[in-house]
């Protein structure tokens, strides 16, 4: 009994110390709105990131590590989870190389929402030169150089689902940008085969992974694997190539070769609360390989800016087919679900196993009906997401709540869905999910504000 008491006291001491050590900016101080993590640094080396490590690390190793992280467990039990570090005296997140306050602090115009990160309208010129191509993997595609000399990665829609992936990619790009993240320029692009010419030195990777010079037959093979419009043209996403890429960032730890990167990623509010934004826009494939660290030069300083990329599996799309019912409800390998099923000898079944059908092939499976923001899950666990606290979520919910119906419709317009009903359905679901997020994380407060507004 004494031992138990003593242990409890020591745990309490640890908790108290951890609360005292909280490094957020104290209230009352002049809030810091810019975290200057953009000092010049030597150019870091590129490090590649892939699916395998992220999946195994998140699904197995980090789960084991957390199971043995007793102080963390004690803090969770005591309801004193460690708060994020990059929070200013008014609960905001300062601008940094990770996040720029946009719609959450200053309502963007509809035109700004539509423009997003775009620097131009996409590839220009009547002739486009292919510099690289591939039929390998899930998504066939190629790189083109336009008349301005800009390079774009061309990504197509899956054969039976015209507009699905391209619309999802562009709409999510606009919204993530308006939220505050750095994203690449993604635009809807229509092309005809006769516009394309293959560069003499264009490389091609075939289905077997063999690299060789690209031929006309290879181009025809790619176009044969993707959705084609009734008039013979093709619709795609033109993603402007980002220069100076240095690999993706992880949702844990810091990048050792970036002296500006001193706040552990799992304790950054802009990464912890990214979970709420991903839930909103069903960006279930969020992982290191779908992020990018880019070495940029701005105002005479060279530093790393952090990007989110590849939204082809956002909203109702799973890139090459509509979302399977699991998406958003369970991790690919979900130990919690597995444990429940096993312990109940299969009597418990996750609700998604009973399946759901989508209404519009161009929208895929994206709905607010069975959306629960607090229980939403991405493809596999990320430590930063698991660390999200109520305060992180509330910060994100404020930003999500800052989007008006008109702004959301403006973002959906950029997806250029040809079926107006489908576009309206998609916008209505994004709006409904926004409301659910606000209700879930700001519930009481939102109601009080609404009541106060009514009284006025």
């Amino acid at each position: 009994m004494r031992a138990v008491t003593k242990s409890a006291l020591v745990i309490a001491a640890l908790l108290a110390l951890s609360a005292i050590a909280l490094p957020q900016q104290p209230p009352g101080e002049k809030p810091i709105w810019v975290d200057h993590d953009m000092k010049s640094i030597p150019e870091p080396k590129e490090h590649e990131t892939g699916f395998g490590y992220d999946f195994i690390n998140g699904t197995v190793f980090q789960q084991i590590k957390q199971a043995f992280d007793f102080p963390r467990t004690a803090r969770i039990i005591a309801g004193k989870r460690k708060e994020a570090y990059n929070v200013n005296s008014v609960g905001g997140v300062p601008d940094s190389s990770w996040f720029t306050n946009r719609n959450g602090r200053r309502p963007m115009s509809l035109e700004e929402i539509r423009r997003g990160p775009d620097e131009d309208a996409g590839p220009s010129g009547s002739v486009l030169t292919i510099t690289r191509g591939k039929t390998q993997g899930f998504t066939p595609g190629f790189w083109i150089k336009d008349s301005r000399g800009d390079t774009y990665i061309i990504k197509f829609d899956p054969p039976r689902y015209l507009e699905l992936a391209s619309a999802a990619e562009v709409i999510a790009t606009k919204l993530f940008y308006a939220i505050g993240y750095s994203v690449p320029q993604n635009t809807i692009f229509y092309l005809r085969p006769e516009q394309l010419q293959i560069a003499p030195d264009a490389k091609f990777t075939d289905k077997s992974g063999v690299k060789r010079r690209m031929t006309q037959a290879d181009l025809e093979a790619i176009l044969g694997m993707v959705a084609r419009r009734a008039d013979g043209s093709y619709r795609a996403v033109a993603s402007k190539l980002l220069q100076g890429t240095k690999g993706g960032f992880h949702f844990l730890g810091v990048r050792r070769d970036d002296p500006n990167d001193i706040i552990p990623h799992e304790h950054r509010r802009d990464l912890r609360a990214l979970r709420v934004f991903c839930a909103w826009l069903e960006h279930n494939d969020i992982r290191a390989a779908n992020t990018l660290d880019r070495y940029v030069s701005e105002n005479g300083r060279s530093f790393i800016r952090h990007y989110l990329i590849d939204f082809g599996s956002a909203l109702g799309s799973e890139t090459f087919f509509p979302n399977p019912p699991r998406v958003g409800h369970s991790h690919i390998v979900d130990w919690e679900d597995a444990g429940k099923v096993l312990l109940t000898a299969g009597i418990y079944q996750p609700s998604w196993t009973y399946g759901k059908k989508f209404r519009y092939p161009s929208v895929g499976l994206y709905s607010a009906e069975d959306f629960n923001p607090q229980q939403w899950k991405q493809n596999f666990p990320l430590v930063a997401f698991e660390n999200m606290t109520q305060a992180d979520a509330a910060w994100a919910a404020e930003i999500v709540g800052s989007f008006t119906d008109e702004q959301i419709r403006a973002a959906v317009e950029t997806g250029q869905l040809s079926d107006r009903d489908a576009a309206e359905y998609l916008a209505s679901q994004i709006i409904a999910r926004r409301d659910k997020i606000v209700q879930a994380y700001l519930g009481g407060r939102a109601q009080r504000q609404a009541a106060a507004a009514e009284r006025k």
């Binding site: 108290a16 709105w33 975290d35 609960g91 096993l342």
Partner: protein, 464 residues
């Protein structure tokens, strides 16, 4: 309390712990600083936040708002750079040091592997109808093995040549070569004729004696088989299949090569075990009918399968062997309210009826005790003329390609009906995990328990 007393969670002298504990208690009970309180714990503070943000919006210099991260504010970080990144406590650093050192290497290795696109290359390789790898052994007790299947597939008009080569760690080998009409898969071909030559070496086959009450004495023999099979197969509709054919099989029996156990020849006489001395050359004529309504034959979740077979077998060399063989394999899969929860049931019957005074060679007797019957007993633990076996297996999907199952198997072998009794009725049970791709089960790891012991299984490929 003495320092280091067993039973304490922390081995620290009381003189140190008590003052520390008192301090800790005071610290824990004191209200946390206002700025350290979470909005969740303090709704009022939470509510105050947006107003503060609004206030800041008004006071914020335009340069620091919106897209411009550059401003005229003094260069400062939101955290103290001298204290960041924070260091973990020493014990945690020591514990995690190997992982920290290994993680980048593991990441680099896995990412390079991905970049070489090994998986998509493997996928293409597996889909190649001309050459594909075969993974798995040659039946129970044959060891781990693999091989390759070659085929002309649709390269030639109207027919295809094919062949397989397989070998295992226990030196079991199998080579087949053949020709058949049609270029499509056998699963969809309406009618085809198939001629195949077979050569098999099975050097460590287990044998325990004949009869339901055979004692647990494990012996082994070496069976070498050469043969040919000609069949006509008809699929009048997608669920139904019929076939007739002829089979020639020349079997030689030698002492087993597994030195751990006695040879069958040293423990049994040819009088007790027909065919043990000279083997047997058999000519058979057979007929079978199949009805298969399963959804996903490699991982069925509903409907069923039934196969009836009958064959007449006669010796064409030395030895007086002649018998009829009848088999029934019936399976049914019942989803329990969801396709992720399935009850699989199977009945397996085999009867061998000697013609006149002829006999059934011992290696053609019905046998139980393998990866699908009486799991928990040793391999081919029971041999007799006839066998009746049942399986009931409850399968449930756990998460992403991982499933669990529990089973019970029961049944017995018997030479005649008088031997079919509760005394020899065997029951086993067990369970395990199965791993499956989108379409089929590719690996099962499980344990089976019987009155004679416990067996662990590690099997590749689909199950019943």
């Amino acid at each position: 309390m003495a320092a280091g007393r067993v039973g304490s969670l922390l081995v620290v002298p009381r003189t140190v712990t008590y003052p520390l504990a008192k301090l800790a208690l005071i610290a824990a009970l004191l209200p946390a600083p206002v700025w350290a309180q979470q909005p969740a714990d303090n709704p009022e503070a939470h509510q105050a936040q947006p107003a503060a943000i609004e206030h800041q919006r008004e006071q914020q210099p335009a340069a620091a708002q919106g897209d411009s991260a550059e401003s005229e504010q003094p260069r400062e970080r939101i955290v103290d750079p001298a204290k960041f990144p924070p260091k973990s406590p020493l014990p945690a650093r020591i514990l995690l040091a190997p992982f920290r050192a290994l993680a980048p290497k593991v990441e680099r290795g896995l990412t390079s592997l991905e970049n070489t696109q090994v998986l998509s290359i493997a996928r293409e390789f597996l889909r190649d109808p001309h050459a594909r790898p075969l993974i798995g052994g040659l039946g129970d007790g044959s060891g781990f093995g693999g091989g390759v299947a070659l085929s002309t597939a649709d390269s030639l008009p109207g027919l295809q040549f094919f062949g397989t080569v397989r070998a295992t760690t226990k030196k079991y080998t199998e080579m087949t070569a053949g020709i058949r009409s049609g270029t499509q898969s056998e699963k969809v071909e309406k009618f085809y004729v198939k001629l195949i030559g077979i050569h098999r070496l099975r050097p460590q086959e287990d044998f325990w004696g004949i009869g339901a009450g055979a004692p647990p004495l494990r012996t082994n023999y070496d069976l070498q088989e050469r043969g040919a099979d000609l069949s006509l197969n008809l699929r009048p509709q997608s669920l139904l299949k019929f076939g007739v054919g002829f089979n020639y099989s020349s079997n030689s029996v030698f002492p087993g090569k597994d030195q751990r156990f006695p040879t069958t020849q040293s423990q049994f006489s040819p009088l007790q075990v027909p065919g043990l001395a000279e083997g047997a050359a058999l000519l058979s004529g057979y007929f079978f009918a199949e009805f298969d309504s399963r959804k996903g034959a490699s991982n069925p979740v509903h409907a069923g399968f039934i196969r009836l077979g009958v064959s007449s077998n006669d010796s064409v060399g030395s030895g007086d062997f002649g018998y009829w063989n009848y088999t029934l394999d019936a399976r049914y899969y019942a989803p329990m309210g969801s396709e992720h929860r399935v009850l699989a049931m199977r009945t397996l019957l085999e009867f061998n009826s000697p013609k006149g005074g002829s006999q059934v060679p011992f290696f053609r007797l019905a046998r139980l005790g393998d990866r699908e019957t009486l799991r928990g007993y040793d391999t081919y633990r029971f041999h007799a003329r006839n066998a009746a076996a049942w399986n009931v297996e409850y399968r449930v999907d756990l998460t992403g390609g991982i499933g669990a199952f529990g089973f019970t198997d029961f049944g017995q072998v018997f030479n005649d009906w008088s031997e079919f009794s509760s005394q020899f009725f065997r029951i086993t049970y067990g369970g395990g995990l199965q791993f499956k791709s989108r379409k089929k089960i590719f690996l099962r790891v499980y344990v089976g328990k019987s009155e004679e012991g416990t067996r662990f299984f590690f099997t590749f490929g689909p199950t019943f």
